[in-house]
């Protein structure tokens, strides 16, 4: 205890030792010298200021005079306080007083007055501005959802976490950080802040310069199962996800897991684009796949074919397969098979005014469980037409069995209307009717605001 006290005292008094050694007269003389020095420096700064102000032609001649007056008053005030404040710290060291803090603090209001006049001021932000150059592209996307009407979700679905949309909800805030890492790879991070916490939606490195035309991804990312599973919430053509994604593909989270992915464009007849993707994941994806031990990895394969029918019309087809272990244990497997089809029409001379996208996905699930495996099937079909630069309308038909009770089939349809004030914000309304297998009906009106801050990069086609 004594030792601690002693060391504390030493620490406390050490800086004061030089002061104690010098006599009070000496220190007074020194203070005076310092004061004079400060005054001299102030005069010098003032002179420099005047030179600077007269050198830069100003639109309004009163402003520099005014600011100069403000400046001199401020310096007079500040000089006293600056010396009073700085003297103990600098006393005894003999270092010249740095004029910058004095002038800077004195100038603060003056700077604001002069800046709009285009005065050249010291570039205080220079270092930080330069450091921003290599920062990643940062974006934040807000997704606000509201709902009115009767959801009537059956208790069996609520019990497995399929809760109705609340009246008002800041559904998701997606922070995107994207950059080129080095000459060989780029990195993408998407963090989502929901009501229940933060989640890494995606975070991966993409190797873009591999030999043989391969593109590899390593990290956490959304699996290439069909189309909807790969999309982030804010690029969906609806507010919600189709029933089939909700019932068979873990809903909003989807197949989204840590893993590896390899993609390559495959040889095909002229004019056809064929791409194969192979992915291996840890094996944890919502309620679809659960990894009970290290060996319970899940795998996913996707084959995509695309063809331009005309300059304006194209068709995109895909088949997907995924296999993993489910929540009942390592010996229980879930197999998923999917077909997706997209038809697009975009008149090239009127790209921003009109287009049509027809989509459909068909998914089969085979889930090992007691007493026997469940084979569920579901699909959705949808169409969206852009009426003009700001309005798009669309509709969707849904039908899906449930992964755990395949004989319970839910149906639904939705009508969607979207308005874009600009490219960076979107207002959407969706009427959703759901007929649950239990005989209940849900009638809801959902609405959504999406707003984009910053430089959000383009999304894959």
């Amino acid at each position: 205890m004594k030792k601690i006290l002693l060391s504390f005292c030493i620490l406390f008094f050490v800086p004061a030792i030089p002061h104690a050694q010098t006599s009070s007269e000496e220190s007074e003389a020194r203070l005076k010298a310092l004061e004079e020095r400060v005054r001299a420096l102030e005069a010098e700064v003032r002179e420099l200021r005047v030179q600077q102000l007269t050198a830069v032609p100003s639109a309004s001649p009163q402003i520099p005079n005014l600011s100069l007056a403000t400046y001199s008053v401020e310096t007079e005030k500040a000089s006293g306080s600056a010396v009073a404040l700085n003297a103990p710290g600098t006393g005894g060291t003999g270092d010249p007083l740095d004029p910058v803090p004095t002038t800077f603090s004195a100038q603060a209001p003056d700077t604001a007055a002069v800046q709009p006049q285009g005065q050249q001021l010291p570039n205080y932000g220079g270092a930080s501005a330069a450091s921003k150059i290599l920062n990643p592209d940062i974006s934040m996307i807000g997704d606000f959802i509201g709902a009115i009407g009767q959801a009537n979700v059956p208790p069996a679905l609520v019990a497995v976490g399929k809760n109705p949309v609340p009246a008002l909800q800041m559904h998701e805030s997606e922070l995107g950080l994207q950059a080129i890492i080095d000459p060989y790879a780029r990195g993408d991070f998407f963090l989502t802040f929901g009501e229940s916490g933060v989640d890494l939606e995606e975070g991966y490195i993409t190797f873009t310069t591999l030999p043989g035309g391969f593109v590899a991804r390593v990290g956490k990312f959304r699996g290439d199962f069909g189309k909807v599973n790969t999309l982030h919430n804010h690029v969906l053509p609806w507010i919600d996800r189709p029933l089939v994604n909700d019932r068979l593909l873990a809903g909003e989270d989807g197949i989204d897991d840590a893993g590896l992915s390899v993609t390559r464009i495959l040889p095909a007849p002229k004019g056809i684009f064929l791409e194969g993707t192979a992915q291996a994941f840890r094996g944890d994806s919502g309620d679809v796949f659960t990894s009970s031990k290290r060996g319970d990895v899940s795998v996913l394969g996707h084959l995509r074919g695309y063809r331009d029918i005309t300059d304006q019309t194209n068709v995109d087809l895909g088949i997907s397969y995924a296999r993993g272990h489910n929540d009942l244990g390592s010996t229980f497997l879930t197999d998923l098979y999917g077909i997706d089809a997209t038809l697009r029409w975009t008149p090239l001379r009127r790209t921003i005014y009109h287009n049509f996208v027809g989509r459909g996905e068909f998914i089969w699930s085979r889930r090992d469980q007691f007493p026997f495996a469940q084979r569920a099937f579901g699909f959705f079909t949808s169409g969206d037409y852009r009426l003009n630069r700001r309005w798009t309308m669309g509709g969707r038909f849904d039908r899906s069995g449930r992964a755990r009770t395949a004989n319970l089939i839910d149906n639904g349809f939705s009508g969607v209307l979207t308005y874009w004030p600009s490219e960076f914000s979107q207002v959407r309304g969706q009427y959703r009717f759901t007929h649950f297998a239990e005989g209940r009906d849900g009638n809801e009106l959902l609405f959504q605001f999406i707003f984009v801050l910053g430089a959000h990069g383009a999304h894959p086609f």
Binding site: I180, P183, Y184, R186, T206, T208, T209, L210, P211, G212, G213, F214, V215, V262, T263, R264, I265, L266, P267, G271, F273, E275, G276, T277, A278, A280, G295, V297, V299, G301, R304, Y306, R307, D308, D311, N314, D316, R323, R344, T346, L348, R349, R350, T351, I352, Y353, N388, R389, R390, S422, E423, F424, A455, G457, A458, H459, P460, F461
Partner: protein, 315 residues
């Protein structure tokens, strides 16, 4: 049991990889011509001028398409994966569609910073670099300046020189050929520019309005004055109040010509033209915007003919 499952998984992955690898031996590109993909048709036209018959060049965006909003179709990937050189306009013109195509192409050469990636904006004189604070309250602004720089023939010359140098770098054995092509192009451009400037001389100082800010380089070169845009802010569709302001301003300032890019809805410009007695001219800003605009020279020939006609009609 466990082992067999693991084997199945591994063999599944291997199968897909083998499928993909099967074509690795395929030549990526033929040895003969340099394969070039450009973002827009104007860059393709300039590349063609200097590359002659030693290149194969294709543009992603068509001349009549809005270069800001091109769909990143996978069919473009087929072109990009074999390209030796990708030439982009830059200044974030293609930010909405090109980056994912580059990433997915599986072509290391054309990645940003790679030997086959050329940002043509580095050679050009760029106008309208925003100063002060840049926010989206100003609309969809390009923070690095206006990307429609190819509409100044001098920029066309500078970019062509840049492309010729790059091609010479990629294939040093043909460097003299590319340089000769450039010299010939430059000479023809000088002559054409004289003709164009002479044609436009009587209309120097005439006021116009445009739909989008696509024309600052063009207007500056030919001594025309822009009085505003039909879009209240870049990327924001016309609003009634802004249109009314424009009509009043045009009447006051005697503005008689409206330039409309072919990919914008002509309804608003036409109604403004009716109100003010002006002419709305649908003027393609890119090569390929109309069938007869097949090269860089014809782009100016075509546009200037339209302009002269409009100026004469609205004297």
């Amino acid at each position: 049991m466990k082992l067999s499952k693991l084997c199945r998984k591994v063999s599944f992955c291997l199968l897909l990889c083998a499928l993909a690898l099967g074509t690795c031996a395929m030549p990526v590109h033929s040895a003969g011509k340099i394969k070039i993909v450009t973002a827009t048709s104007d860059l393709a036209a300039l590349a063609q001028e200097v590359g002659g018959d030693r290149i194969d060049v294709e543009s992603i965006a068509k001349g009549y398409q809005d270069p800001h909003f091109v769909e990143a179709k996978p069919s473009y990937l087929l072109k990009l994966r074999q390209a030796d050189l990708l030439i982009v306009v830059g200044l974030q013109l293609e930010i909405g569609w090109l980056p994912p195509l580059i990433t997915q192409s599986g072509n290391g050469r054309i990645q940003v910073g790679g030997s086959g990636y050329l940002d043509a904006s580095q050679f050009a004189e760029i106008l309208e670099k925003p100063t002060g604070e840049v926010t989206r309250a100003q609309g969809d602004v390009h923070p690095y300046g206006n990307p429609h720089y190819w509409l100044d023939p001098e920029n066309g010359r500078r970019v062509a020189k840049g492309i010729a140098d790059k091609l010479g770098e990629l294939r040093s054995s043909d460097a003299t050929y590319f340089n000769q092509n450039f010299e010939s192009f430059s000479q023809r451009l000088t002559e054409a520019s004289k003709k164009w400037l002479a044609e436009m001389e009587p209309y120097r100082g005439r006021k116009v309005i445009t739909y989008h800010r696509s024309w600052p380089n063009f207007l500056k070169y030919f001594g025309l004055v822009t009085m505003g845009e039909i879009e209240p802010r870049p990327g924001i569709p016309p609003t009634p109040s802004h249109t009314l302001e424009l009509i009043n301003m045009m009447k006051r300032e005697n503005v008689k010509v409206i330039l409309v890019e072919p990919y914008f809805d002509p309804k608003t410009p036409q109604s403004i033209a009716r109100e003010t007695g002006a002419q709305a001219v649908v003027m393609p800003p890119s090569v390929g915007g109309e069938k007869e605009i097949t090269d860089y020279f014809k782009l100016f020939d075509y546009d200037l003919a339209l302009l002269v006609k409009a100026f004469q009609a609205t004297k």
